[in-house]
């Protein structure tokens, strides 16, 4: 009886810990403004990485880009190294996947 009960608890605990590992549970959305120091396109043109230097902290962050619009902007150089970018990305498992990636502009 007692044993069964503890197994039940163990199982519940397992289920809960599994739940908390669900994909989006620990993805964190980060916003930053930074200057692009490097753009690297994947061979097939379907992905790229951009290294940004955070204007506030000076730290560098590597962001994976997969959306078509931004990739296209890299290809025809509407966005180039040296541009200042306002971006949002999802940070998860040491990977940063870009959500929005646009040039800063006044008015």
């Amino acid at each position: 009886m007692n044993k069964l009960f503890s197994i039940a608890i163990l199982l519940t605990a397992l289920v809960i810990s599994n739940l908390s590992l669900a994909p989006f549970a620990n993805a964190e959305e980060v916003k930053m403004v930074g200057e692009i120091t490097k753009i690297t396109m994947a061979g097939d043109g379907k992905a790229a990485t951009a290294i940004l230097k955070d204007t506030k902290t000076g730290e560098t962050v590597t962001i994976d880009i997969t959306d078509e619009l931004t990739l296209d902007k890299f290809k025809d150089k509407r966005i180039v190294e040296g541009d200042e970018i306002r971006c949002k990305f999802n940070k998860q498992d040491g990977k940063n996947s870009g959500k929005t990636f646009v040039k800063t502009a006044g008015c």
Binding site: V33, D76, K77, R78, V102, T104, C107
Partner: protein
């Protein structure tokens, strides 16, 4: 079905056009042999094109305007000279320049006329042979334009110019403008991507883009005159217009219940249920960015996050210092209910005459000093006496893109339920009418049928 036949025919045309353009531009060999020297190269085979271009809105940033109140007869209006609070200046007061250094000693170039297909040495609205040769034909026509080559810079005499990609390589890939050729300028109107209109022209955002249509499939351009709509806040026009019904006709639905509504409800109202971008800015208070520059403080939403405001519109515009928006009413026999993005902006007014003042962005970008910006603009415009007082302006932007898939179009209960999107009372309906228009009696059977079909 007439509609399907029409649409099929249309798509056929699109495809034909697409393939015929996909074949090489007939001038390619000539350009390869002789190199690209600017519009004069194109003029070899397309004589008169450059001269005619100088007469259009894209070059002049202005035109005569006949549907807006309180304008001076005979004068032209547009980005060149208008003042409103989405961007509190214009090409004249915000002529491209290098701003004074900020705290960190950094400087940059800013100016509204960066979104002009000239080279700035030859500027908005200029004329003559030199202007003809300054046109950046390739920004719209080349599929291989290197946009990093188009930027403000100082030339050897210290004059500030917009450089262009005039490479032979770019000129060898001539065709119809793709969406991105237009979006180079249109995406960032209003101070950043999708700020003003909040419309993206991507597969996810618009059914037409999803079907492969590009801007110029709808905006069918002849002699560089671009058809447009009667937007309350984009006045300059080439005298040619387009509408949704121009392609689809006024009764495009199999279901007559919808077709009946098109007599008083614009297509956009049901088919563009969302808008986005900036909904308020404060030009009296600029925010410091991490890079040491300042920008107007702006409240904004993503492309699809804003519910429009609905109003009667008879395609004429009320234009006063504190309000620029649609005129119209339920009873004038000319109005339909349209969706708008309402935007509110705070800026300085001149206490002496009540008019909105404009701002030169160079000083506040560097230091945040907004009154210095007003002073610089007043100087440029020759306004000697003014007393700046802050005030708000409400302006309406039409919502004409980002058409949702038909399954997401508004249907009966979206409007006729008690908590529907329309405020019938505000739209001019009496209590008795509102009671009827919000009674399930008028839509229950239809809505039930739609629900059953979707279950």
């Amino acid at each position: 079905m007439l509609v399907t036949r029409y649409v099929a025919a249309f798509l056929g045309v699109v495809l034909m056009v697409a393939t015929s353009y996909a074949k090489e531009h007939e001038g390619k060999e000539y350009i390869q042999e002789n190199g690209y020297k600017g519009p004069e190269t194109c003029e070899e085979c397309h004589p008169g094109t450059a001269k005619a271009f100088l007469e259009t809105v894209h070059w002049k940033h202005a035109s005569k305007v006949d549907y807006v109140d309180n304008l001076k007869a005979g004068q032209e209006y547009g980005m060149k000279n208008r003042i409103y609070t989405m961007c509190n200046g214009n090409d004249i007061v915000n002529n491209l320049k290098e701003i004074p250094p900020n705290e960190a000693g950094k400087t940059k170039f800013t100016g509204c006329n960066t979104c002009h297909p000239g080279d700035h040495a030859v500027d908005v609205g200029s004329t003559g042979p030199e202007a003809e040769q300054a046109i950046d034909c390739l920004i719209c026509h080349s599929g291989k334009y290197d946009f990093s080559k188009r930027k403000p810079a100082k030339d050897k005499d210290g004059k500030i110019v917009m450089t262009q990609d005039r490479s032979t390589e770019a000129a060898m890939d001539i065709g119809r403008p793709a969406i991105k050729n237009c979006m180079v300028c249109h995406e960032s109107a209003g101070g950043g991507p999708l700020i003003k209109r909040g419309f993206a022209m991507t597969k996810d955002a618009d059914v037409h883009a999803a079907k492969g249509l590009v801007c110029v499939d709808c905006h069918t351009v002849k002699n560089h005159r671009f058809p447009t709509g009667k937007d309350p806040n984009n006045w300059a026009n080439d005298g040619v217009y387009l509408t949704c019904a121009g392609c689809h006709n006024e009764k495009p639905h199999k279901d007559d219940d919808y077709n009946r509504h098109t007599a008083y409800i614009a297509c956009q109202t049901c088919h563009i249920p969302r808008t986005g971008g900036a909904f308020a800015k404060d030009f009296t208070q600029w925010a410091k960015m991490d890079n040491g520059f300042y920008e107007p403080s702006t409240l904004k939403k993503e492309v699809n996050e804003t519910t429009p405001v609905y109003a009667w519109y008879n395609l004429t515009v009320s234009n006063t210092p504190h309000f620029i928006g649609p005129k119209g009413s339920r009873s004038d026999g000319k109005s339909k209910i349209y969706p708008f993005k309402v935007y509110q902006g705070k800026a300085y007014y001149n206490k002496l005459d009540g008019q909105l003042l404009s701002m030169d962005f160079a000083p506040p970008t560097a230091t945040g000093d907004t009154l210095a910006g007003v002073a610089a603009a007043a100087k440029t415009l020759g306004i000697k006496k003014y007393e700046p007082v802050p005030g708000w302006q409400t302006i309406y932007f039409g919502s004409n893109h980002q058409v949702a898939p038909k399954s997401k179009a508004l249907t009966c209960a979206n409007c006729h339920a008690i908590n529907g999107i329309l405020n019938f009372k505000q739209l001019g309906y009496g209590d008795k009418e509102v009671e009827k228009l919000t009674s399930p009696a008028i839509y229950f059977n239809k809505a039930f049928k739609i629900q059953q079909e979707n279950e």
